[in-house]
Subunit: 289 residues, 2 copies
């Protein structure tokens, strides 16, 4: 499906990468970029990533077939209220937020059946347009979260948009999404931040200098934007806190097994985990940062 | 310090990489390799990594200035008993095990003051000589664990050996080592195995397909050799179980903070962790696998 005009709100890592990928995969598509920051818009223009930039939401959505919200989740409701009256009847809106129940609950009353939530499962511990790259979505999963109310045509538009950018699409409910990502994304982030904190507060200052690759990789995403992640963890707090309690219980149980020197149980546990990990066709580090 | 002859016991990932690095940094050093497997020794010979290979421990250590034990920790005591009578008076012995108190306690009575424990903090989730590489130690930390009994000359020999291979050396007690690595290495491994198990057992089978880079990196080392890691976790069980209980408590506390919607506390926690993570001069993924 060709896109005539796409409006991107928030030209950061995700928004900037969408503009770059669109330029590459759909060179005829016109790109309109909104930001509240004039400076960010100048940067977008300098990089040749937009045909039109604006700090005015109404101007940004004018003529757009598709609006993609790439701002922090907390900003989406007010933006939607501000541009909703200026959308065409056929304009489809999607977002890229890392939580879906709260976004969908807030935006459907404002935007109606033409809104479909989505969540590209890719990114970087770095943020901002300087970290954006054309292939960020290539081969990466993208979760799309329609509800019973969603317009089927809008769902097709959003699906074809992410497919165009190279994503592997999965469709699930907003609730299913939040349950899943609490465990495969938010929990790994929480573990990374917590592990850094544990090492920083319980060991001498130079201890991390002695760490090898396992600590580096386990904590890579602890370099992520704290305000973005505070927002995500708070918005998905019910599922994240369940996942944290589940993980906490499993660690205690592993500690007990070790204390009882149950070598066979430990070996069995590690063997099954390795088998599962080996069976996963995870994206290679080259595919997603 | 030039090395005339080095004996390597166990030509796997670590032992094989030592042979490759020695060939590169000290081309005149003779390399003797011991393995209980004829097949592994043929592989070593084919790759040109040894001047002499043997399944006989006495033959392997003959004429060696330095013996490096790269086998699993559980095998070291019996090997030491078997080759100890055949060492020269000046032969120094070190090992590369991931735990140090138990190794040092077992080997000093057998090998005396010429034994110095060491632990190169590098590796890979892959194992075997096929995963070995010349630059495995380059820029990576190496912890050396002398005791009050250690011969200072033996300590200098072992230090200069790892420096020759490109490692960054830190010296600490066996107890200090086990406390430290329980947190910066064994805990990250335990978290990786546990996170894979949690996702595998509580989500639909295809869920990990929807995971992004954070899950991939958080679980990379869950692909490590289970029997090697069962051994390490059991040998260092006191410190590892303390670290697991500490981590478990911190995750519960984070869950409570989220449930109470204390957004400021969450932001503060994430900000401090990010600052600490950003301050670490960790090895880049290019330097250690």
């Amino acid at each position: 499906m060709p896109f005539g005009q796409v409006a991107i709100f928030g030209p950061g890592l995700i928004g900037g990468s969408i503009a770059m990928a669109l330029r590459s995969h759909s060179p005829k598509a016109r790109i309109s970029v909104w930001s509240r920051s004039e400076r960010d818009l100048r940067e977008v223009s300098t990089r040749g990533l937009a045909d039109n930039v604006s700090t005015d939401t109404a101007e940004a959505v004018r003529g757009a077939d598709l609006v993609v919200l790439c701002t922090p989740v907390q900003a989406m409701k007010d933006l939607a209220i501000s541009f909703a009256p200026h959308l065409d009847n056929t304009t489809v809106v999607t977002d890229t937020g890392s939580v879906k129940v709260c976004v969908v609950d807030q935006l459907i009353p404002i935007l109606g059946r033409k809104f479909v939530g989505s969540h590209p499962m890719t990114g970087s511990e770095r943020s901002g347009i300087g970290a954006a790259r054309e292939k960020l979505f290539s081969g990466a999963p993208c979760l799309i979260t329609p509800t019973v109310e969603t317009d089927p045509e809008a769902l097709r538009t959003v699906s074809s948009f992410w497919t165009l950018l190279g994503s592997r699409i999965t469709t699930l409910s907003p609730q299913g999404h939040d349950h899943l990502v609490a465990r495969v994304s938010h929990l790994p982030h929480a573990l990374a931040f917590t592990l850094v904190d544990l090492v920083a507060s319980s060991l001498p200052a130079d201890s991390a200098l002695m760490a090898g690759g396992s600590f580096r990789d386990a904590t890579r995403v602890a370099a992520s934007d704290p305000s973005l992640w505070a927002g995500i963890l708070i918005e998905n707090r019910d599922e994240v806190s369940k996942a944290l309690r589940e993980m906490s219980g499993r660690l205690l149980s592993l500690a007990s097994t070790l204390e009882q020197e149950k070598a066979d149980s430990i070996l069995d546990f590690l063997t099954k985990a390795k088998e599962h990990r080996d069976s996963l066709p995870l994206p290679s580090p080259d595919e997603t940062i």
